[in-house]
């Protein structure tokens, strides 16, 4: 259904960020991830002392009309007591590498419970057209930095 497409996009980005978080656990033990508008998880990600991967859904507009869309979202990281911000830049680099410019990622229905069988059919794809690092934001003892991702999405409907 067309009205579920933003949810499919969000679920897919959740999946890509959470998979990256799992892959980085050996290098950054206790690494968390959160979608920054998710009040369930942001407390732990923003108030904890450990590092966290972050992402935020920006805009999602028909371009020029459905089923073609232009989307924008941010991916980044937060670190605490990070000398020279090396861990911060490393985390941002590793996460933005998932969404490289001029590459595509397929969209699947990942918003099903883990108890349900996986839905193997692609619902569309996003072609990333730009991937740019933004200025660093500071929150007293911690730093946050994002990369802004822009892309064109296609809904297979």
């Amino acid at each position: 259904m067309a009205e579920d497409f933003p949810l499919i996009v969000k679920g897919t980005i959740d999946k890509l960020v959470s998979d990256k978080c799992a892959a980085l656990q050996a290098q950054y033990p206790g690494l968390l991830w959160a979608e920054v508008d998710d009040m369930l998880q942001t407390d732990a990600a923003f108030k904890g002392q450990g590092p966290a991967l972050l992402w935020q859904f920006g805009s999602f507009v028909p371009d020029p009309r459905a089923p073609l869309y232009e989307i924008e979202f941010s991916v980044g990281a937060r670190t605490v007591a990070d000398p020279s911000n090396y861990a911060l830049i490393d985390l941002v680099s590793q996460l933005r590498d998932v969404f490289r410019a001029d590459q595509e990622f397929q969209l699947f229905n990942y918003i099903l419970s883990t108890a349900s069988p996986a839905d193997a059919f692609s619902k569309g794809f996003v072609r990333v057209i730009s991937n740019e690092i933004s200025p660093q934001m500071f929150d007293r003892q911690s730093g946050i930095r994002y990369a802004v991702i822009r892309g064109k999405a296609v809904n297979f409907g």
Partner: protein
């Protein structure tokens, strides 16, 4: 030493009944004590109406299985907040219990959260009932809403019986008025766990 213990024991006639969660009945612990006069500022916000001192002779203590107790035929429920031994020479001749009244019967619950295939968590709307217990509630402060400037939330401190394990993903449902209290912080107060909670709504 035996003389001191005998002197204390002479006045210790009040039976301690312990709540047995398995049988849902009050067991006679076979301990006998004596309530002492006590009146102090005893919690962060309450005057001394919620604590009592009970002395027992010898070195007997409340068995670990009991979290809440009653005294004789009184319906008042207490928690054991701390225990001090009185020692002369090498022997314990008496034990002083600090009792904390627990007038509120509550149900401790947790919202069921499922993990999606995306790795994100979602509340299912279901409630998991963990246990019922007695607690004391003490109003702590109000806190401003971060979203609505004219809204304040009421903050309480909840004192739990000593065997309770509370975590910040739980909430407390008062069984007298159905109010919901979200646990935001857990800490230790003497020998009982305490929690800062925020009233919902």
């Amino acid at each position: 030493m035996a003389d001191l213990a005998r002197a204390l024991g002479r006045f210790a006639h009040t039976p301690l009944l312990g709540w047995n969660a398995v049988t849902s009945a009050w067991d006679d612990t076979e301990l006998r004590g004596r309530l002492q006069v006590y009146d102090r500022f005893i919690t962060e916000r309450d005057f001394g109406q919620r604590k009592r001192i009970l002395t027992l002779s010898g070195d007997r203590t409340l068995p670990a299985a009991y979290s809440v107790i009653r005294l004789g035929t009184s319906p008042t429920v207490y928690m054991l907040e701390s225990l001090n031994q009185d020692i002369e020479g090498e022997a314990v001749y008496g034990t002083t219990f600090a009792l904390h009244q627990a007038p509120f019967h509550v149900r401790v619950c947790r919202e069921v959260v499922e993990t999606l295939q995306s790795g994100a968590k979602r509340k299912t709307g279901a409630e998991e009932v963990l246990f019922d217990t007695w607690v004391n509630l003490s109003r702590y402060s109000a806190v401003d809403s971060r979203e609505f400037p004219l809204t304040d939330f009421t903050i309480y401190t909840v004192y739990f019986p000593r065997n309770v394990v509370a975590t910040t993903d739980m909430y407390v449902r008062r069984l007298d008025n159905n109010e919901l209290l979200d646990i935001t912080e857990v800490f230790q107060s003497l020998e009982i766990p305490a929690a800062r909670v925020q009233r919902r709504g």
